[in-house]
Amino acid sequence: MPLPEIMLAVLWVGLTAYVLFGGADFGGGIWDLLAGGAKSGHQQRELIEHSIGPVWEANHVWLIFVIVLTWTGLPSVFAAVASTLYIPLTLAALGIIGRGAAFAFRKVSTELWQRRLFGATFAFSSVVTPFFLGTVAGAIASGRVPLGIARGDLVGSWLNPTSVTAGALAVGVAAYLACVYLTRDAQRAGAADLVAAFRRRALVCGVVVGVLSAAGLIVLRADTPGLYTQLTSGRALPLLLLSVVAGLASLALMWWRAYVAVRLTAALAVTGLLWGWGVGQYPAPLPGVSLDEAAATDAVLAAGLGSLAVGALLLLPSLWWLYATFQRDREK
């Protein structure tokens, strides 16, 4: 496989990891928002804080990974996307500040008004950030970002049917993944009522995201016919089918209370969507621009990919240790 294709695949792996892990952390914030009053929602908020506390910073690095790899591997695409979409990206960046900082602040605050203030900031930012990042994805998917510096419509590029649907879908996916993961976390913590609560939410949320995805296809058909064709009858069809089957299986597994297995199928459903988009859009990252034209020189790609390969040898065991430490049942 030529280097640009490998780089693109690695980029997409990073994006997938960000959505599956970092996305779920935002989802935790969404459920924090919907947990109810300070007293009635206390238990849920504690579980959410406990689950995402040790891992959110590591999960967040996937976003930095995606950004850096884009400007290294596809510099002109990065410049075009960042300059045309600077409004949603600035808003997402501010959301990232609000989410991370407020989460850390709330953790060390004791007084109720502070916990409420920081908690509200954390939760609100957790909703808006994936939305704006989703609109950016929609802008790229619908071909509204032309090559060049700030050549696209500064507003219309991300406020359009595909972008808004993608933004809503991003919020939905984040919330869905979070409650799927939280159900198992609650089970491990031995909180039966929380298990029931998050199971119910996962079922409802799963249906909502499924409907949203179907609606998204209809929007794509009208707004982004090229990608729609690829997804429904082109080479991205198998991935779309994977997503649908895994999504339905997730609903069934959640219904049957298979809380570990459903993590896998839920992740697969989301992965199918992301890779369906990627495969459907390949090989043009921007309209009329081929991957080869946009890709960095081979020397850069080789050095970058080589470094990542060596880095992975350090990273994967470390990540394994992190998740294993906090997913293991506490020794008494």
Partner: protein, 460 residues
């Protein structure tokens, strides 16, 4: 001043002034903010680990209490540093697409490596902070080591990318497109060794003096117990050892600037005309093409910059006015950095002297006052040094290759983005200071002498 520079550039290139000024100010604000957090990200894990290690070796529970206290602050600072660092990677594209679209690949390698290092840092920060009571003490201590190594590595990679902007090497451009790149040569450009060393040492100084100043304030308020004494002494010792080294490294960095960016050195020192035996200017204001009201030390600059009283110093006159950085900003920033550095050196020498004589802190309250101010001085030196580096590079974003005005995002309305970002950073600053002050005020749980361990002290 910044506006003045923007105007001058506008005359030359015909690119918008207000939005360019806003973009530069936004970058300056978010980078100047993050750099303080980044310093604590590099330095705080190290001194926390030293405290934890001493606590376990000597069995002194005060050290372990300090380690837990610092770890709690580390949790807050690391989170805020992680998000404020992310914003910078966004802004590289949002504000400077003209640079990233062409040269993004040239500096991609150090950023990819920094990504790996930051990943390792984040993973082990999670383990270190949250698994304190799940891991045996030795394993916990070892889990902290990768944080320190990765933090130092991160600083190296990021600053090497900045060094490339000062001394761009390792690429060829043809028709506005990069045609060949040697990413390793770009990363290890001649400015990288002095700049990265200077920055990493600065991180330890900012952390050491910064943490020490918190305990100096407490001691001035009468809390003179062992816990507070150690809280002052440990970080202050680390910073005091590094300060003289840093001044030597600073000299090395200045020599590198003299060789690689003579126009920046000229702005730092307020030298307009090229000549031999150039004096050193202390203070002074640049007005109408000359430096006025400065204290002159004859031959001083030639001697300092090249170890030769008759060495040639290139003045600002060698480049057209449109290619000069704003002299007063750079000159004063440089003076402030050097003054803070020597003040901190004096404090370090005082501590060393008394420690040699009496194995104790100096008794004078002025020492504690100095230590209390040292954190502010270290941050001031840090910011001033960064201003020298960045403003001294203007009007270029990539020195002598690409102008800042050509790199900026031409989309309208960057001013509004700047206003919004400023408002958010104001709130972030207030909240961060508030939370840290609360953390500092929490009275530590008292530990009885018969208590073998302090694991009951719930921190996270």
């Amino acid at each position: 001043m910044c506006h003045g520079a923007a105007m001058a550039v506008q005359v030359l290139d015909g690119v918008g002034g207000a939005d360019l000024g806003a973009a530069r100010m936004q970058m300056a604000l978010s980078l100047g903010w993050h750099i303080v957090l980044a310093c604590f990200g590099v330095g705080l894990p190290a001194i926390t680990l030293i405290a934890e290690w001493r606590g376990h070796r000597g069995g002194d529970s005060h050290y372990r209490l300090l380690a837990r206290r610092w770890a709690k602050a580390m949790g807050v600072l690391f989170a805020v540093g992680a998000v404020s660092g992310t914003i910078l990677s966004f802004e590289m594209g949002l504000l400077w697409p003209g640079m990233m679209g062409v040269y993004g690949e040239v500096i991609g390698l150090p950023f990819a490596l920094e990504g790996i290092a930051f990943f390792i840092e984040a993973i082990f920060v999670g383990i270190y902070l949250y698994a304190w009571d799940r891991l045996p003490p030795r394993a916990h201590l070892l889990a902290g080591v990768p944080i320190v190594l990765a933090g130092v590595a991160s600083a190296f990679f990021v600053v090497s990318a900045n060094a490339w902007m000062q001394r761009p090497t390792g690429f060829q451009v043809k028709d506005g497109r990069v045609v060949s790149v040697d990413p390793w040569a770009a990363m290890f450009n001649p400015a990288t060794p002095p700049m990265t060393t200077h920055m990493i040492l600065a991180a330890f100084m900012v952390t050491g003096f910064g943490v020490a100043s918190v305990y100096a304030v407490a001691m001035l308020r009468g809390r003179r117990d062992r816990y507070h004494r150690l809280g002052l002494l440990l970080p202050l010792t680390v910073a005091a050892i590094i300060t003289p080294v840093q001044i030597g490294v600073g000299d090395w960095a200045a020599h590198a600037v003299a060789d690689q960016q003579p126009v920046k050195l000229a702005a730092m020192e307020g030298v307009f005309r090229t000549g031999r035996g150039v004096p050193l200017h202390l203070g002074g204001i640049a007005i109408g093409g000359e430096i006025r009201y400065a204290l002159e030390i004859p031959y001083g600059l030639s001697l300092l910059a090249h170890w030769d009283p008759n060495a040639v110093i290139h003045g600002l006159e060698e480049v057209p006015p449109g290619d000069r950085p704003p002299v007063n900003v750079v000159h004063w920033a440089f003076q402030i950095m050097v003054a803070c550095g020597f003040a901190l050196l004096a404090l370090a020498a005082w501590l060393a002297w008394e420690w040699r004589r009496r194995r104790d802190l100096p008794r004078s309250p002025w020492f504690l006052r100095g230590a209390a101010a040292s954190g502010v001085a270290a941050v001031l030196a840090l910011e001033a040094g960064w201003i020298v580096t960045e403003v001294g590079r203007q009007p270029w974003i990539v020195f002598r290759v690409l102008r800042t005005s050509q790199a900026v995002n031409p989309a309208p309305g960057l001013v509004y983005g700047f206003v919004l970002v400023t408002a958010v950073y104001l709130l972030l600053t207030v909240a961060t200071v508030y939370v840290l002050r609360r953390l500092a005020r929490d009275v530590p749980v008292p530990v009885a002498p018969q208590e073998r361990d302090i694991s009951g002290y719930k921190v996270v």
